[in-house]
């Protein structure tokens, strides 16, 4: 492989020009890889006006920010962004290119990988530089979370990967650090973009399970949709998100967007509280790497207790309201 490919690039995602600190999180993981290779961590951003984002990326540690501005790039659209990104990649030749495994990161990376005809590793939970080949070793969950697969691409560059949100530490914000900004021009005809955003409706019950620090989930054992109001009360009291098992979703008690497991979302919160969830393989695959798992279940034999950090044998209908009451007392709320 020609070593004209250098540096680690991180994609900075935004929604109509607005970023959150999480948009910059991969500059942390990118820096670790760049340090191991003796190269630089850079950011790339595509948008209508990227000046502020480029500046902030510098504060989060990017040494160079590559940017493409244009009215066509106001809102993320895969064809437009992937073609713009391909121009940057073809010109500057990054060694490694990382996107978050959000809907936008997945859309961009798959379109870009298809365009460049290079491999794509997805949803990394660990990234490491292989000593011998200097290639990235990417660890990811396969079969839900029942297996860990280590993936490498030694055939093409850039080595592309999406990275699971919140797995790597956030980079430090340091406003004294600034990046060199390289602006490239690229334009694309509206017809070649093929899609048009008509509307965005913010969800009232916006569930962002993947980014939640605390998740309270309910399963078959909560008995019905009413049961989820108890689960929700605890989630609200703790400032967490509400999850569910497949059994509960398939019974129609709660919408699919709440589902945790192999056919739902894979989550890694700091606290995961499972109420009335027995712990089918399907469900465990999606939450077993949570930092602290609490299981509340009537059945002392439920498999969930085998992986729980704390187990409470009891009826969630009695335990959960008690938890809320005691929590409010102790936390002074």
């Amino acid at each position: 492989m020609a070593d004209e490919y250098k540096d680690v690039w991180v994609y900075i995602e935004h929604k109509d020009g607005v970023t959150t600190p999480m948009s910059y999180e991969l500059l942390g993981a990118g820096k670790t890889l760049a340090d191991a290779l003796g190269s630089k961590v850079c950011a790339f951003v595509i948008g209508e006006n990227t000046d502020e984002i480029a500046k902030t990326a510098g504060h989060y540690g990017a040494s160079t920010v590559y940017a493409i501005d244009g009215a066509s790039f106001k809102t993320f659209r895969p064809a437009a962004f992937a073609k713009a990104a391909a121009t940057l990649v073809n010109k500057f030749k990054p060694d490694i290119l990382l996107c978050r495994s959000t809907t936008q990161g997945q859309d961009l990376s798959s379109a870009l990988a298809g365009q460049l005809e290079v491999g794509l590793g997805s949803d990394a939970i660990n990234l490491q530089i292989d000593d011998a080949s200097k290639a990235v070793k990417l660890t990811r969950a396969a079969f839900g979370g029942n297996f860990l697969a280590t993936y490498m691409n030694t055939k093409s560059k850039p080595q592309m990967a999406t990275v699971r949100p919140k797995v790597f530490p956030m980079p430090q914000l340091d406003t004294s650090k600034n990046a060199e900004v390289v602006k490239e021009s690229f334009s694309i005809a509206e017809d070649d973009i093929r899609t048009k955003i008509l509307q965005f409706a913010q969800s009232e019950t916006s569930v962002n399970l993947v980014e939640a620090d605390i998740i309270v989930s309910g399963g078959r054992g909560v008995g019905g949709s009413e049961g989820f109001s108890v689960v929700k009360a605890l989630a609200d009291a703790l400032g967490g998100a509400m999850g569910a098992s497949r059994a509960a979703v398939d019974s129609g008690w709660i919408p699919y967007e709440h589902q945790v497991g192999q056919t739902g979302k894979t989550v890694k919160p700091k606290i995961y509280i499972a109420c009335g969830i027995s712990g089918a393989i399907q469900h465990l695959a999606g939450m077993r790497t949570s930092d602290c798992i609490v299981a509340i279940n009537k059945d002392a034999e439920a498999p969930i207790f085998k992986i729980a950090s704390f187990g409470v044998v009891g009826d969630y209908k009695q335990v959960v309201p008690k938890l809320i009451e005691i929590f409010k007392q102790k936390a002074g709320k």
Binding site: T103, S110, L120, T195, Q199, F200, Q202, F310, V312, K322
Partner: protein, 265 residues
């Protein structure tokens, strides 16, 4: 309108998957295979679209001989035609090679307006193939779709709702398009006995790489850039502490333990 539904055969999600870890291959003996659960929603969406607008549905899969099972299931549900790409050379394809093979097959099918896929497969879990496929074919890329509002084949337009972080985005795209659907977009039907009987009798021909015009060096392990170099089981997670006492006592202990983690704000 012509619709292609891409379907994958995966190990049963209810069963414990067993690997021959040193070899890095699946222990397939005694393990049931099913249609990728996410693809069932794509298949149902194709059937619903056909009922609404009149369309021809082609179900497409790639994989070994056994993969015909998922096509028979699709036939039993009422798809019009099935295509099976089966060639020893395609084994070990990564998402790049897979999207190449599916793209070649879709070009061979020809005149396709809409390609429907599940959001991801439950074995590889990448969710990358639909985007790579759209790009390779030059079709519109519409992913994470929770509702198809309208398909206007005459004017080559499709309107969908995408479930993205924080809300729902309504997008209009040009046809042809690749649409990946979310679970919950519909309720997949089950095949009836007559459908199953009819499907059992259908001869399903296999296409090899030559038949779809796929270059051998772009498929299978050889055509793949990514390689799984190691496969392990995650570190076992052992049981922690079972709390004791009456409910009040357990709840109180638990609250203390959770507050100690300093996560709750």
């Amino acid at each position: 309108m012509k619709i292609v539904v891409c379907i994958k055969q995966v190990p049963d999600t209810e069963a414990e998957v067993k690997w021959d870890l040193p070899k890095g291959t699946l222990k397939r003996e005694g393990m049931d295979s099913i249609t990728n659960p996410f693809d069932e929603f794509a298949l149902e969406e194709a059937l619903l679209t056909k009922e609404k607008y009149d369309a021809e549905i082609v179900a497409l899969t790639m994989g070994p001989d056994k993969a015909v099972d998922v096509l028979r299931n699709a036939l039993a549900l009422g798809v019009d035609q099935v295509c099976h790409v089966n060639d020893a050379a395609i084994a070990g394809s990564d998402t790049l090679a897979t999207s190449y093979i599916l793209g070649k097959a879709i070009e061979k099918i020809g005149g396709v307006d809409l390609v429907l896929c599940g959001k991801q497969a439950t074995d590889g879990n990448t969710g990358s193939v639909s985007g790579e496929l759209a790009t390779r074919l030059g079709f519109s890329q519409l992913t994470f779709v929770g509702k198809i509002e309208e398909v206007d084949a005459a004017n080559k337009k499709i309107k969908v709702q995408r479930g993205i972080e924080g809300g729902i985005e309504t997008v209009e795209g040009q046809l042809p398009a690749v649409v990946s659907v979310l679970k919950g977009i519909n309720e997949p039907r089950l095949p009836n006995l007559m459908g199953i009987r009819k499907a059992a009798k259908v001869q399903i021909p296999a296409w090899d790489c030559d038949a779809i015009g796929a270059a051998k060096d772009k498929v299978g392990a050889e055509g793949s850039h990514g390689k799984v170099v190691e496969l392990t089981t995650p570190p076992p997670r052992s049981a922690g502490e079972m709390l004791k006492g009456e409910i009040d006592e357990m709840a109180s202990t638990l609250v203390d333990k959770l507050l100690d983690l300093k996560v709750i704000k």
